[in-house]
Symmetry: C2
């Protein structure tokens, strides 16, 4: 992962030839804002004492305790736009004092034991793809902060081909999971936009949801069992697909964002690798009519693998296909439908979906747009970096609510973003899509693009605040699949109540009495 | 509900004409064991002081504070076989000191406030159908115990026909839910065997699963939102169908068995009332081949509404059709498949299911057996009472595990029950069926019938212990859909770990610092 950009350092998004024109048309007069050079980045001294370093070395071997600048820089913060802006400006004040790379559950347990004794904060680190400040703990009350890099926990522990479950170590990244399972004929089917860098432990700790959630389900719904290393000891949960043996404590670990323990392996449901895949696009007159069509499908339990509806603005900009970015003049709203499974199942799903969508005013455009979406599905973060270079800030935020409340929430959030951005001196472009649907409701995913003014971090903060306030006030969840981190804490109490916060605190005190795990993240 | 039997006092199961012969053949020489007369039941004095009674009267109105014998008897324990045996012997030592019938959430909150102040234990009481000792708290450390009867909370609060959700008050019983929703064209689709008496709050508090779980899902999976009255205040959870705003705290309330708070309403996903219903039976050579067929269906996401496979013994006895009880000589194992939905969907599902089952060695028997099962699906508890009268004890227990572990767990539990019952001096008949299936595993539901010896309560205890030990030792969950109560506490620590128990205790202390809620239930 690039130290100040998304993804593969050798891969960058190329803006189209007419990008300059388009940007000027859309955003006005922008000022390019290049990142500092890596060589110019200055880090604070590591605060780890030689004794502490030695203790960790005994736990994970000396080679796996890194205090060099590169390791520390690569484990600083996540990949939200404010994170990138900080990195691009050379601000690495939040760098951990060391990076530890354990190779086993037992090594993780030992690192936690040492850290609790030494009162050193521990940041569990998988793919480093957090976009909510989940990797930026408040270490001020601690002698030091270490990043616990879990990527050496990268093995398929067990594949049960009768129960169709796989036990995956937490540090496996998305592509490793699919390659490993794929070689044996299976897929997990979890493809969030961060897929190429995000880890199994991160999927679990943040309640991730992937682009194929309509067909494969959210990550939390795939989980059968978990192993967690906590300062209070090892915790194994999950004996059966379902149970009535009290509250489902797995659901307390899922979404715990490294604040309750370190997830070291996850047992998930897998599926046979699909024989066939087809992606097609449909066009609807309006976002409202497209949303009704989506709702009809999911309430009738017709679940294509992928279901994604862009609003009028997102359809016009066509960000879903970065290679063809530009103004789309056809009007209306684009829906992508993806179908994966056996040839027979794909054919049947396409037939069923086609019948419903046609009956509700949809027009089949064809496979071209769908294939373009599938090909470019993990590329948007690269595009963000290219636009940041040009002085255009791009950030996303998302929520979910009931179908009934969806139009009201959409309007409220869009207006709030628009007004707040204007107040900061630049007209934004606000795009939205629905990409996770349930019988009772759906998600709303907003992309905001705006010309950077003098201090883009300060420019974004009030926009984010206005969006969060609008979400909370209009009954949406503060996040459908990005987690709480530090960025969403201001709205969590409103969502789960003082009672909910007290429960989280009590669980935290039980599992992590010294409070060393990701302090300041999740719990208000 | 009858005070010492299941269900409607005016409805009893009639044993077939040849019952005496069959019972003698199956169980040997039995001694009829009639229940005491209600008039002979003696209750301990109510320990409620006049001041306490007055305080409760102010909270719920004087008419809704009952200390008469009938009310107290009707709120004593649940309906497990040991509960019935105690009732039949006239043992009402566990009777609550009063029965309170609040009519609103606020009245529940007020009752909890008074109870915490007075250190009076509170047993939330819905339908009174617990079979795990969930209504038999340990009140020894308290000045008094009150049953909090929630059946006056019986309103449909809201029906959202766009989001297809209904907010149901906790005291609505199964038939009320279906009648109320049915009048508007909807169904909840939750039909546990206790359906006719069990309540919405009980479904939530125990993580109930119904006979149509294959098509409609478990109750916990239907829940979108909850309101809970706790001694620490009102707690509302659930803003969206799914969220990544930290752990899913709804899943901490679901399965909390009245120990964390009193659930006062639940918002659930509803579905259009099915146009068509069809139930059919299939026959497989063996339990193993039938289980493989079920697994194939669910792993291929072909979900008939009902899916139930009896083992060889249950098929032979044909308990699934009490009107035709007797020895079935056809051999093999019976599977019931139920289909509900639009005419078109039912036809398609039947076709798909038929293709899979035929291909895996199943033979379609026809609709007769399926219809008989559907007609008699809520009658088995009445049959239990008729057999208890004759001196034959019947009890059930259940578990769930992965498909891989299912055969091993089945053998282990069956052998353990058989050996333990024999040690108590009588040969049991042990029946089993699979009726809740998931891609990664399934439930096992055992029915045990055995001739009563001198002290049937003492006779059953070691059998239950042996079954629980076998379940726990062989990796099953101690309960798939009956909850923990007091009866399953001995195995909970093994299942969720000391860490899990510590977490439950911490949550309990946060929500119920005086420990007044259902003391001794759920938490080891």
């Amino acid at each position: 992962m690039h130290w100040s950009r998304w993804g593969d350092p050798n891969r960058t998004a190329t803006l189209p030839d007419n990008a300059g024109e388009l940007i000027a048309f859309a955003f006005g007069d922008v000022t390019p804002d290049p990142a500092v050079e890596l060589a110019d980045v200055r880090l604070p001294e590591s605060r780890l004492t030689p004794e502490q370093r030695q203790a960790y070395a005994a736990a994970v071997t000396p080679a796996q305790v890194a205090i060099d600048d590169t390791a520390r820089i690569e484990h600083t913060r996540g990949k939200s736009t404010p994170d990138l802006l900080a990195a691009r400006s050379g601000d690495f004040s939040a760098a951990p004092d060391a990076v530890l790379r354990p190779a086993s559950h037992d090594e993780v347990v030992e690192v936690l034991r040492i850290s609790a004794r030494e009162r050193i904060a521990v940041v569990p680190f998988g793919g480093g793809t957090s976009v909510v400040g989940g990797l930026a703990p408040d270490g001020s009350a601690y002698d030091a902060v270490v990043a616990l890099d879990l990527r050496r926990l990268d093995q398929l522990v067990e594949l049960d081909e009768t129960s169709l479950t796989a036990t995956l170590q937490a540090g496996m990244l998305g592509p490793q999971v699919e390659e490993t399972l794929g070689a044996k004929g299976y897929t997990l089917g979890h493809f969030p936009q961060s897929f190429e860098y995000a880890s199994v432990g991160g999927f679990a700790a943040t309640r991730s949801s992937g682009q194929s959630s309509s067909g494969y389900g959210r990550f939390d719904a795939m989980v059968v069992a978990l192993t967690v290393a906590t300062p209070a000891g090892t915790w194994r949960l999950g004996r059966a697909p379902a149970s009535a043996a009290g509250p489902d404590l797995r659901q307390l670990v899922l979404g715990s964002e490294g604040a309750f323990g370190v997830i070291t392996d996850v047992t998930v449901v897998v599926r046979p690798r699909p024989q066939a895949k087809a992606y097609e696009t449909w066009r609807f007159e309006s976002f409202a009519s497209g949303a009704t069509a989506m709702r009809t499908l999911v309430q009738d339990r017709i679940n294509p693998t992928v279901l994604r509806l862009s609003d009028e603005t997102e359809t016009a900009i066509n960000l879903s296909d970065p290679s063809a970015i530009g103004l789309n003049a056809d009007g209306g709203c684009q829906m992508v439908c993806g179908f994966e499974g056996t040839e027979q199942r794909v054919a049947r799903m396409r037939g069923e979906v086609g019948e419903v969508l046609s009956g509700l005013g949809g027009t089949l455009v064809g496979q071209e747009g769908g294939d373009a979406w599938a090909d470019g599905r993990f590329d948007a973060p690269y595009l963000r970096d290219a636009l940041l270079d040009e002085g255009v800030m791009v950030e996303t935020l998302e929520t979910a609510t009931t179908w009934t409340n969806l139009p009201r929430l959409y309007d409220a959030v869009k207006s709030a973003i628009d007004a707040a951005a204007k107040e900061q001196g630049a007209d934004p472009i606000v795009l939205c899509h629905i990409s996770h649907v349930y019988p009772s409701g759906a998600s709303l995913y907003f992309t905001v693009a705006v010309r950077e003014t003098d201090d883009p971090v300060a420019q974004w903060a009030p926009v984010k605040r206005a969006a969060g306030d609008a979400i909370s006030r209009h009954g949406g969840t503060i996040t459908h699949h990005h987690a709480v981190g530090r960025d969403h804490k201001p709205w969590l109490t409103d969502e789960i109540g003082e009672t909910g916060v007290a429960v989280l605190r009590a669980v935290k005190e039980t599992l992590d009495p010294e409070g060393i795990l990701n302090p300041g993240v999740l719990i208000p």
